[in-house]
């Protein structure tokens, strides 16, 4: 038994009930051909990189299943003859790539109409955290440089105040600049 993954693009007109019916149909076909469905994911309506059958958008559906692979040819023909499927691709995957089914198909489809909330929000927070972490580091480095600059400025002020010790202080400044370069 091998593990396979099928990605197919459904016509964007199909939504909710009809989309659900089509997904159930394809699953039924796989089951009839001796396959065992492990994971299905409705990825939602996306803009395609190039138009297929004059459509700019398409609903992406992913199915992972286990079968001996002898009936994959017939399954791909079935998808090809279905006018509601714009494009499909069957690939061989390893067992480690198979994901666990957590959400029901109906929930997934109904979730598409909802504003994409949780996942995107999480991603955003992760990104922002990453950026803040970098920013903190930058702040630290910049603060260090700032303190050095301040010291140099103070030394310069002292130069202006007492001219007698000018030579000595100038040497100090040169040392400070050398530290900076390091």
């Amino acid at each position: 038994m091998n593990f396979y993954e099928t990605m197919y693009i459904v016509h964007p007109i199909l939504e909710m009930g009809r989309l659900h019916d089509l997904i159930i149909e394809t699953e039924k076909i796989i089951k009839e051909r001796g396959g065992e469905i492990l994971f299905t994911n409705v990825m939602g309506k996306k803009r395609m990189a190039y138009p297929i059958q004059k459509q700019k958008f398409g609903t992406y559906v992913l199915v992972q299943y286990k079968s001996d692979g002898s009936k994959n040819n017939v399954f791909s023909l079935d998808l090809e003859h279905n006018p509601n499927v714009l494009r499909h691709m069957i690939i061989n995957i390893e067992e480690s790539e198979v994901k666990e089914q957590t959400e029901d198909i109906k929930d997934q489809i109904s979730g598409l109409s909802r504003p994409r909330s949780s996942k995107q929000a999480e991603e955003k927070t992760e990104i922002s955290e990453a950026f803040t972490g970098e920013a903190e580091k930058k702040d630290k480095t910049s603060s260090e440089t700032k303190t050095k600059e301040k010291q140099a400025e103070e030394e310069l002020k002292t130069v202006k105040v007492d001219d007698s010790s000018a030579e000595v202080v100038e040497e100090d400044i040169s040392e400070a600049t050398a530290d900076k370069e390091e």
């Binding site: 990189a49 190039y50 297929i52 700019k56 398409g58 992406y60 992913l62 494009r87 691709m89 690939i91």
Partner: protein, 76 residues
Amino acid sequence: MAFITSKKICTFCENHDTNINYKEYKILRKFITEQGKIIPGFVTGVCSKHQRRLGREIKRARNVAFLPFTYDIRHH
């Protein structure tokens, strides 16, 4: 577009967590030109092992219209 010329360390060897997969086409997008061509490994610094996987996954992503075969101004 990612023309990394100064540091030529394979990004996928550095981060083992990054998965080369056609579904994660946003990562793959960095390794194709504006015209949709695959950028050679010696330009991006990707090692030959990962470049082979990249090529395979980019070609898969093209077949399901995640990535373009070629850039056409009429579609944008």
